[in-house]
Amino acid sequence: MKKLLYILFIFATAFLTSCELIDPTEVENPAITEDKLFEDATGGAAPLIVGLQYSFSDALMKTITYTEVTSDNYDNTNTFLSNIIDNPRDILPNETQLDDTREIYFELQTIHAKALFGIEVILPKDANATSDDYSEVYFYKGMALLMLSENFSAFPIKEGGIMVKSEEALTIAINDLKQSIDYNGSSDNISRCYLALARAYRLLGDKNSAFDYASLAIATNSNFLFAAQYDAANLDNELYTFTVARANTNDMQPLPSLDFLDPKYPDEVSEIPALKSEEAYLILSEIALANNDLASAKEQLKNTLTLVKNRSIVEFNDRDPRTDRPNDNSCIVVFNNSSIQYSGLIKKRSNNPVQIGIVSNTSITEQNINDLANITDAFELLYKMRQEVFFCEGRRMSDLGIRLPVMQTQIDANSNINNGDYGTSVIVPSYIPFGYGLDEFSYDDNSKIVTIQYNMNQIIALNISTASPFL
């Protein structure tokens, strides 16, 4: 027994000593815990803003991937993503791509939540935070609400909050953007805020304010571009994957009438335009048309055209085989109910260089604008121009009048929201064709004629009182 006591004593001593030397129970979380974050909060504004920029770039890209497929711009040809969303009426809150924490709704809410966290927690604790920092954070908060409102009819704007209609969210976004201007009056900041404000007021149907801010935007800088940045190592532009690298299982294809615009982002770090001066001219044109002022509308459309022509065009060697799609410069595009033939819209691919507009491009000519004889035709041309100029920027679905439901997780995780509430169902205007009509076309390989089933810009023009926020 003595020996046992002796051995136990040695082991106990060794154990206690080793515990002190190398405590096996001690663990340290390498992540940024709340304690660590608040321990030295000075200088917190800078990483907060970088985080917001990251989230904004991510959310914009996800918004584009989702809404371009939902709209008539792109068809989810061969990807492992959802192609149910090609048929917008089938979109439910639990649609697998929507109800995903890496996709559009969640990513947009993340920007807003993080900006709110910045304003309420990080910036007040950072003794060195500047008014520029506040301006930046308010800008992203406003943009988050603006993009949510553009694509969703209602959503909560705080954790556990009640549903807020997009109109109400837009007024908060407007307030945020104005605060951003108040904190930072630099030309670049006010240019982007004016453009965002013009878009917000357009969505609200407020002609006067939209006009004012569109005009202010042009007056400040008529050749302005604010774009989301990408980073090959940390956040690459996934549109590159789906529209350039493509491969067998990542293939999204454009509607043939928009073929000449594809791909828009030739590189994995290509920036994506978020706010650009073209939008101001197009808003002014739409307001003019809403006021039955065809001449002013034409002038603004020409201004848009001039600006578009000044934007960068790059040559890109597209290796896409365009399998089962028209792939010839001689292809002619017609719309099902029209005899007008459009040439030059389809470009030969498969190791052929194509000219692509990486900011804006359009097939519309000055002559097309001059030829406009009535308001309806002008609206058709305006929406076509919006479609082409904002191609692959995530704007078309909203122009078609489609609004998505919130994700199912939002309904399940918030006791104030129930299935069936406003904002939990997709809104698809009656003029949107059923099924996969938005992406339908036929191609005759002999005559090289591509027939697009639905001329959605014409349909929008015929339903303009529903489609345009200004009417």
Partner: protein
Amino acid sequence: MLFSTKNKTNYFFSFFGLILLLLALLNPIYAQEAKGSISGKIFDSKNNEELIGANIYVPELTRGTTSNVNGEFKIDNLPIGKINLIIKYVGYKEKAIEVNIEKNKTTYVEVALIPTAVMLSELVVTGQGSAIERKKLTANVETIKSDEIKYVPIESVDQLLQGRVPGLNSFTSSGMPGTSGRISTRGVKSAVTSTTPVIYVDGIRVDNNDAFRLALSTGGAESSSLSDLVVGEIDHVEVIKGGAASTLYGSEASNGVIQIFTKKGVPGKAKWSFNVTSGFDAAEEKFVVEDYLKNNLFQKGFYQSYKAGVTGGNQFFTYNLSTQMYENKGVIIDNKAQNKNYNINTGFRVILDETMNLEISSSYTKNKYDRIFNNNTIGSPYSDFDIGSYNDELGYTDHDRDSLLNIMLTPKINDDVDRFRIALNFDYSPTKYFLNKFVIGTDYRKNEERLFISKKIGDFYGTENGWVERSDREYQTLTLSYTGILTLPKLYDIEQVLTFGAQGFRVDDREEYAIGEDFSIPGTDDFDNAAVINAQESNRQLFNGGFFLSDQISIKDKLFFDFGFRLDGNSTFGDDIGMQFYPKAGVAYLITQESFFPDIFRVAISSLKFRAAWGMTGNFPTPFTRDRSYGAQSFLGRTGIVFTPGGNPGNDELKPEKTSSIDAGFDLGLIQDRVSLEVNYFYQLTKDALFLVPEDPAGGFGSQLQNVGEIENKGWELSLFAQLIQSENVSLDTKISYSTLDNKVISLGGASPFSIASFTFLPRRVEEGYPVGAFQVNIPTGNGDYQKALIGNPLPTSFGSFSLNLTLYKNLTISALAEYAFGHQFVNMKKLQRYFAGTNDTENIVPEGYSFQTASSIWLEDADWIKLREIALIYRIPDSIFKGVTISASIRNVAIFGVDTNTDPELNGYQPSGPNTGGYNLGDISAPRQFRLGINLNI
């Protein structure tokens, strides 16, 4: 002299000589009396192989010994005249012989023991606290013995387990080197954590992880730490499948515990063994669709292996040393999937004095292997060609394909693993009633995985000048334990063993990843040559410590009870959570020991034991998920705070998942122990199951681990072992196992249903009333309409194995092992990709008016399979020709039956971290057919 230079073991002297010398001096020297002696040899009646470690004793004198490394024994100082000798060995029938001892002479006997199917006296350790005879177990512990795996070509733990344990799945996930099987016991108990059981080697917890957090993405072929868990010479393996048998392991044992015991040697003159094995691997082409691939991608991969070992020792010190090196050129052309490995393994047992002994085992492994891109990764030759991307209809010629294949084989993807393990087991028994066991040891694994895309092929992979990626992982686990085993005085007919102790382990897990881009200057893949370098790391630490108490009661050696509990603390638990309590209780009743058991039944029934046990085990949460934290995201050369990825909302009430298990069944020995049948029913209910519960998206955080779910697993396990023929020259055994599994999510605890790592168009879901990973599909109902439905199950609902072992004329053994899995489904991603590519065979597969997603149920297929895993032929050359030479020929992955599809349903090309249920197959390479010819020499 303790060691002679003749037996080449003198180099141990420097380590242990002093200790042994000291011990030898301390030990009493027995007086010699001139009486008589007996010596002899014990061997297997079936194949004449010597039996090492058999017990030989003289009951009248209460004296005995064990057979040495050559199966030999000697007992001196025996009285003149007739004595009885009893010989016992686990797995064989006890034998008693009468021997006549003559004065000053040594009587020599040879004893052949007959194998038995029933092993009631086998000692089992894992999960019991102390060694306990199998007959006393209240819940099943499965054992794999070394002779079952002696001559089959097994290179990793998952292959060792395949088809050998009822209720345990070890399915091949990929045929690429460095990968490992998906191991699970009795279903999936968690919707977020791995199903792999905890693995111990000689009492030390070892790395059992796969799906490393920062592993390079080369297309689903995830490296696994199980693939390089080489432990040297295995003595036996014990497997407990969760439930009551694993309660004493507490918060880590829901998935069960596998313990591997290595050989420490037996007394005797040094016995050397050498093995040379060579052969080749051939690709399984059953699932290759495109002829071009069959003709151009594969090669017959040459295999060579060299092993050497020595074992021996004396009554105070034994050793078992072995080393091996092997090279497998792999089945991909240009040796692009080659594997090289060498390992050194040691095992020692030192008897310090009559009260103390020490066992030390260690192992070092170097493992290196190459890979190609796999599955649907861009540049995966196996997948890219076989999914029809480069078909004739698109205008590709063989010339084009040759140049594409050349590009796809150019990337360098290799992994380099170093692994070291050491275990010290120290036993101190101050009296025969009290044993103290101390265990300390560590397993350290470091790997470096590299991928280099050179400038030459950069364009094909989307970058002009190529890149290099490197992923390092360093994992160390430290185990400390103390167990006290107190045998209480026998009270009437009641025997009691009280076990108590403490056990703790610590894990330090560091992963680093770096990418260097733009290698504009042709040259090496050194990071210094890259223009832009980015890096990240992920570190985890955890400590688990607990106390346990167990009481084993034996009444009249026929009624057995055990009670026990473990109290556990863990650094992953939330701040508001204290120690966790895991109780267990069980009973076993050996009814054939009763006098009332009718004799008429004894003719057929040699033993019958009923048993039932209830117990609880846990599964601790992922480290640091209890803390609220924010992610630091590098972006455009600066660092930003983000909520996702990397952020976590935090949960002060985070605790382990707890699984309560009921095991009940009976073990039957029939026809004089020639047949054993084990029947077991299990019911397991996991409460507080950890789900990644989605947070309100308006808060910006994704999801948080919360203990909200309930998951149920239940099923039957049947295991039959029969010695069909036991004649002088023919011996035929068979083993059959059959298991069923019914897995279901009982409750989500109010959380939203969610997907587990899935493809968006056809996700695997966690929803109430369905198995974990049920498939969400759209079923076409006509006119373009479809119905959304949850169907199928990625987990087999019945599975098992069948093996035969035939020995002819004692020298020739032929064995075969087959395995099957039924009642489950998988998504045939290869078929979908062929549809995307527009191949002829998929032309009309999607109904008119539907898309690949609105008719997604067409991609779901039955995953049933039957595989003949192994065939082995062993020939022991008679000693009269060549002493100690055995020749073995074997084939692994022999044939596949019952599969009528274009992809191997057993594989799982998509291996997420978390529950690896399987369910997706993108067109991975199947496990190759391995032909081996080996020569074993024992001298």
